[in-house]
């Protein structure tokens, strides 16, 4: 997979089709990768493809003003399409290097299974549908689905919807909605009062670092509503009510554009289960309007489109 990608990346750079390539390279910590920006064709050997390329690189497209190549997984490709639909980027300026995504490993789940932190795990490897975890002289073999991200287990289209080159090699283990939606279902089963207590407690821990917003590819507003001071919609102080308010509004703002890539939840240093909010929103959008974010670049953007038939009685 890597070889194919590197050859194509070299071609694109050498021919001058793109000025740079945005991809992944080995990270500085175990089991991590990090975004990589390549301009020099001789650097393409740094590109990696593995089960730890969790970031959604579409985030960087809004910043780039030149023609670029970008490495995307299924969900990321839909974010790129979302950006095209929203006219944030021009399709002609992006060469999409798609990866048929095999599902990404959630190191946090591996930590839970091993009972130790990431850096104390010696190795994580995959053989067919089995994940092999080596730690402290011990080995544990579990079904692969036990260590993939919830968002990956719940993924409707691991293969990019839009691409110029498709790299495949590892097949996705398939959808497992029960596991992928377990957290959301658990919340849905709660009584409203219990759910309220749950979220209140979660958002007491929010520190307003805005990592959830900053990492979100479709949070591209020049100025976020939370930063408006005239009028001031919500307090900039990290009080739980306002933290929750911020996240609810952000969730609605990304409706129809959120591809449930899970980056907001992964980025949160306080482990607030944000995917339970945005994931549920994506589901609602799909169920109510049969609209899946980023599946068609020619479709109108969700919030900007309106059909009389879909309106509630009061608007008709």
């Amino acid at each position: 997979m890597e070889t194919e990608l590197r050859i194509e990346a070299r071609n694109l750079l050498e021919k001058g089709t793109v000025k740079s390539i945005i991809g992944f390279t080995k990270g500085s910590l175990k089991f991590t990768t990090t975004p990589l920006f390549i301009r020099n064709p001789d650097d393409v050997h740094k590109l990696v493809v593995n089960r730890f390329i969790k970031n959604n690189l579409a985030k960087y497209l809004a910043e780039v003003k030149e023609c670029v190549g970008i490495v995307v997984k299924g969900c990321d490709s839909r974010s790129v399409v979302s950006l095209i639909q929203d006219k944030q980027i021009n399709r002609d300026n992006v060469v999409i290097l798609g990866i048929a995504c095999p599902g990404m490993i959630d190191v946090f789940k591996v930590e839970q299974l091993a009972g130790c932190d990431r850096d104390l795990i010696d190795d994580i490897s995959v053989s067919d549908n089995v994940a092999i975890i080596d730690f402290g002289g011990r080995r544990k073999e579990v079904e692969l689905s036990q260590v993939l991200y919830d968002s990956c287990l719940d993924c409707k289209c691991p293969v990019p919807t839009e691409y110029d080159l498709l790299v495949s090699g590892l097949s996705h283990i398939g959808r497992n909605e029960d596991v992928g939606k377990a957290k959301i279902q658990e919340l849905k089963r709660m009584l409203p009062e219990q759910r309220w207590t749950f979220w209140k407690e979660q958002f007491r821990h929010c520190i307003r670092c805005y990592a959830c917003r900053q990492i979100c590819p479709v949070c591209y507003c020049e100025r976020c509503f939370i930063e408006s001071s005239e009028p001031r919609w919500l307090s900039p102080m990290a009080q739980w009510q306002h933290n929750l308010g911020f996240q609810i509004i952000r969730t609605i703002h990304v409706a129809g554009r959120c591809t449930d890539c899970g980056e907001c939840e992964r980025a949160c240093p306080q482990n607030i289960p944000l995917r339970s909010m945005v994931g549920e929103m994506s589901d609602l959008v799909f169920k109510m309007f049969n609209y899946q974010a980023g599946s068609d670049k020619n479709a109108p953007s969700f919030m900007a489109a309106y059909e009389v038939t879909e309106a509630e009685e009061i608007f008709r």
Partner: protein, 351 residues
């Protein structure tokens, strides 16, 4: 001061005694996140699993947000009230890196004019340090001149000695804690043994940050736009690295009022944010690379020039919590031209 010791299974009783005077904060796990939380009075054994918290203990001196004044209008005019508590707080289990972080922030708030809100919390806070036994792979405190086995920046320092903790009071406030039936004297030999056992931790820290001539090198490359743009490329401009840094202290102030009453708050702010210092005119650092440069240069150039100390303790939070693995040790290596090639070579990952 003389060394004391206490058996680990006496810690609960000791904390019970302390809890008459202090609200006690201990490492707790909530949501799989480690934080200093209220001690619930039950037996503790956090030293078995505790490595470090996500939010550093600076939060007790400079909370995420706090109310500064409360104002309201009555028949006689405007009334002002300063909310706040006199409750003394004891933070149990502060790591040497974070203790140094608090000392660095202390220097800042001592400078110029006293900060009432900071001082009141500083005075009512007592820290009990605990030696580090299992550093993360992101830790590089030894490069920043910190001994993970020992701290002089706390009120009482504890060293894990198997069944006991060796205890040393470093301040008067600390000395007041070390008496009563659960505290014994420790012999010179016991102290020596515990120290030598604890000092082996430095061998577990492999990450290095080369500080040799760093301030000067940063000054040299200050105007190298291309370098800074490259360094900043993957940064998301979120607040994780600054908010969770044990030495970052920036805050913003915000007034909120409704009808005839309101409050003035202050809360954490970050130089990573586009709107940082946007009041009242403009942000001098509109571009991302300028904000990144500010953060790096503040920690390793401006702060050392002003105080003689780097504003970094090598706790590694900014590395391990960064959503895109922006790594300060790599960045400094890039600036000083001492990049370790093993970090840039592609992975041989089997997955």
């Amino acid at each position: 001061m003389a060394f004391k010791k206490t058996a680990k299974n006496n810690i609960t009783k000791l904390m019970t005694a302390w809890s008459h005077d202090f609200k006690i904060m201990v490492p707790t796990r909530k949501n799989s996140v480690i934080e200093f939380g209220d001690w619930d009075g039950k037996d503790v054994d956090f030293w078995v699993w505790y490595r470090n918290t996500v939010v550093p203990p600076k939060v007790f001196l400079l909370p995420v947000w706090e109310e500064m004044i409360r104002f309201s209008k009555n028949n006689h005019g405007w009334g002002l009230e300063v909310p706040g508590s006199e409750q003394k707080v004891l933070i149990f289990g502060v790591r040497p890196c974070d203790a140094r972080g608090m000392a660095i922030i202390n220097d800042v708030f001592k400078d110029g004019y006293p900060d009432y809100y900071y001082d009141i919390k500083r005075r009512r806070t007592v820290t009990v340090g605990l030696n580090c036994v299992q550093p993360y792979d992101s830790c590089f405190c030894t490069s920043m001149g910190i001994d993970p086995a020992m701290s002089k920046d706390v009120d009482v320092m504890l060293i894990d000695a198997g069944d006991d903790f060796i205890m040393e009071a470093l301040t008067d406030a600390g000395a007041k804690l070390l008496h009563g039936e659960f505290i014994r004297s420790a012999s010179a030999q016991e102290v020596q043994m515990a120290r030598s056992m604890a000092s082996s931790v430095t061998g577990k820290i492999h990450r290095k940050l080369n500080t040799h001539g760093l301030s000067e090198k940063l000054l040299d490359r200050f105007s190298d736009t291309e370098l800074w743009e490259e360094i900043a490329a993957k940064c998301l401009s979120c607040g994780i690295c600054t908010f969770l840094c044990p030495t970052c202290f920036c805050f913003e102030i915000y007034d909120e009022s409704f009808k005839k009453q309101g409050s003035r708050y202050r809360g954490w702010d970050s130089c990573s944010f586009k709107l940082y210092t946007q009041m009242p005119m403009e942000n001098p650092r509109e571009e991302k690379w300028k904000r990144i440069r500010q953060r790096v240069c503040h920690k390793f150039e401006f702060h050392p020039i002003n105080t003689g100390n780097f504003a970094c303790t090598g706790c590694g939070r900014c590395i391990r919590l960064c959503p895109v693995n922006w790594d300060i040790t790599q960045v400094i290596a890039q600036i000083t031209g001492t990049m370790d090639s093993s970090l840039t070579e592609p992975s041989k990952n089997k997955v």
